[in-house]
Amino acid sequence: MTGTGIREKMRYHDGPARAAARLTAALLALVWPFGAQAESIAWDGFVQSHVAARTGDVTCLATTECDYPAAELRGQLKAEGKSESGNAAFLGRFDLIRDVALDETRLETREIYGDRRASITAARLGRQVITWGVGDLLFINDTFPKDQVALFTGQPLQYFKLGADALKLNAYPGAANFELVIAEFRPDNTPSARRFIFADPLPAGLPQRTVEPGHGTEELETSARVSGYLDNWEWAGYASRTHYRSPARRVAGSEIVGTFPRLNTLGASVAGPVGKGVLSLEAGYYDSVEDRSGTDPAVENSQYRGLVGYSQQLWEDATLGVQVYGEWMRDYGAYRDTLPAGFPVKDRVRKVATIRFTELFAHQTLTFSCFAFFGLSERDRYLIPSLRYAFSDNLWAEIGANLFGGDRNGAFGAMQDNRNAYVTIRYAF
């Protein structure tokens, strides 16, 4: 690693440390009303073993974890409590992970936040998971941090969302609800060469680093949501001033530098009953602030995104959900004109369909689920079959697979050397 790389890494760790200190101070201020009148604190948790084994014969780099891209033992401890009146509350959720695949042990703060509530307002400060929108594993107006590594290695779904260090303010004046989120930047956890194999069109052998937005006030992210009911339909409008969370990478001198370009989004969603099922619609506009002309090949072009979903029960304890999703690139001509040679060409409209089938058996102790992405324009696919059995209220085990396939130029097809089968066992207490 180069000297610059180390400095960047230091800075990366320094940011969250400062943020954590500020958060702790703020949390103490928020939660002080607990004092002696606090109700008892509830402790819960689990221990979990999770292993994903790469299937098929694949040649890996020496630095890539080839046989088992994920192998870990994890313990989670959750503490929560609220004041007698319910006007103040807190939650902390911490994971201690022995990661055998990467040979490291780490402590992750999944969530830690304090709540204050009044009659028509509420505030939550700290690291918190926020989920918006009506898509199933497809996100348009939810630009909050995600963990693709967790998804691609078959971790339980809760690990697909990462907490944001944020202040969330809610107002419930009556006909509509308002939510304002002010957050520090946090990148997605995107697949890296330590666990995954994929083609990189950038030159091999160059040192790589990423530069995150700073933590100054002017670089805070702001997201707003207004939502309500119209009869028994629910609607929401969204706006975000945020950043792309996957790095835009380019060669700069003798290294590859990834940055997180600014992004503004605007969108809306509705959901309600149609026929015997539920219809969901969501749309949004992605304004790529740093590449409005669409001529910078490293930065995503501005896009319109939309999805239509419908889910319905087929028979008792069996549900089918289908979605059709599209990303329409605004400046396709500029994109094609500036795309360097050797890069896979994206379509003007990227179309993806998804299917989710779930059936429960044996008094809902056995769950079969299959989620499938089909790249309609990129001609690739990603299938996630799984089978979970609950031995008791405390113990469950799941087996499943992440099956990527199709055209290697597609987003899912590019991952096909990472097909894996996984086993998860969790004991909750």
Binding site: K82, G86, Q128, V129, I130, T131, K276, S311, E316, D393
Partner: protein, 264 residues
């Protein structure tokens, strides 16, 4: 004084005596029973403990707070169910907007993802959280969904009973249902379900009935699947009626953030 004509006497008697229970139609009996069982009071709060017991005797437990609000005379109801246990589903909540004449709207909140999801609700005969009770058994059915006939009157454990037979109009998992309905309190004290071959399918029993204010509640109940041997036992605790629940409790805000006044 001129004697009153017999006809007038009969009329007077009919007006002055309270309508005798025996005069009620089967539909009216079932209607009163559904009201007593699923709609008592303007609202209700209860702590519900559920045990799911498989034929081997292994027990799974569910502990929830249940809130119900009747929206005036429309027949619309709102339900809110918050799970306290087991640990793996703690904090999960359900919200149901129930209508007499169309499918319910139903939402679930998944706390680990802070996700509110609307769920397809065409499943009133589906099992409620893996128990032997269906969603319909928990939140009620419509009197018009079945045809009803009074079979006989008898006593059951010292209570005066109408035995009513009901047959679903549309094909469902049972072909007929026989109910033992208390002639004074209108609660069902026992129900037997039969499958398409007229074999016994499930049996409901009201194991304990208690009075809260002016309302009677089945505070301990069981449902046994006679074909699988699986059974579910439910205890209602801290049952309170007319506590003053507001309609806004049954919205996304409280689905995400349990109303502390009612859920503890």
């Amino acid at each position: 004084m001129k004697p009153l004509p017999q006809f007038t006497l009969f009329l007077l008697a009919a007006i002055s005596l309270p309508a005798r229970a025996a005069d009620l139609s089967a539909d009216e009996i079932v209607k009163r029973s559904l009201e007593a069982f699923y709609s008592a009071g303007a609202d209700m709060r209860a702590k519900v403990r559920m045990q799911l017991i498989n034929p081997q005797g292994n027990i799974r437990s569910r502990e929830m707070t249940m809130l119900r609000l009747n929206l005036g005379k429309s027949g619309d109801q709102r339900y809110y169910i918050y799970f306290h246990a087991p640990a793996d589903v703690k904090g999960t909540s359900f919200m149901v907007w129930k209508y007499p004449a169309k499918d319910s709207d139903r939402w679930i909140y998944v706390p680990a993802l802070k996700l509110v999801k609307r769920i397809a609700a065409d499943d009133k005969r589906s099992s409620f959280v893996g128990s032997d009770f269906t969603y319909e058994d928990i939140s009620g059915r419509n009197v018009e969904d079945e045809t009803h006939g009074v079979v006989r009157q008898e006593d059951l454990n010292g209570r005066p009973i109408y035995v009513v037979e009901s047959k679903p109009k549309a094909p469902v998992d049972y072909s007929r249902r026989v109910s033992w309905i208390d002639r004074e309190r209108w609660l069902p004290l026992k129900e037997e379900y039969f499958d398409a071959r007229n074999e016994p399918l499930r049996t409901f029993t009201a194991d304990k009935v208690e009075q809260t204010g002016k309302y009677w509640t089945v505070t301990a109940r069981g449902m046994k699947n006679l074909q699988s041997g699986h059974r579910t036992e439910v205890v209602f605790q801290e049952v309170r009626y007319d506590v003053g629940l507001r309609p806004d409790i049954f919205t996304e805000r409280y689905l995400r953030d349990a109303p502390a006044q009612w859920v503890r």
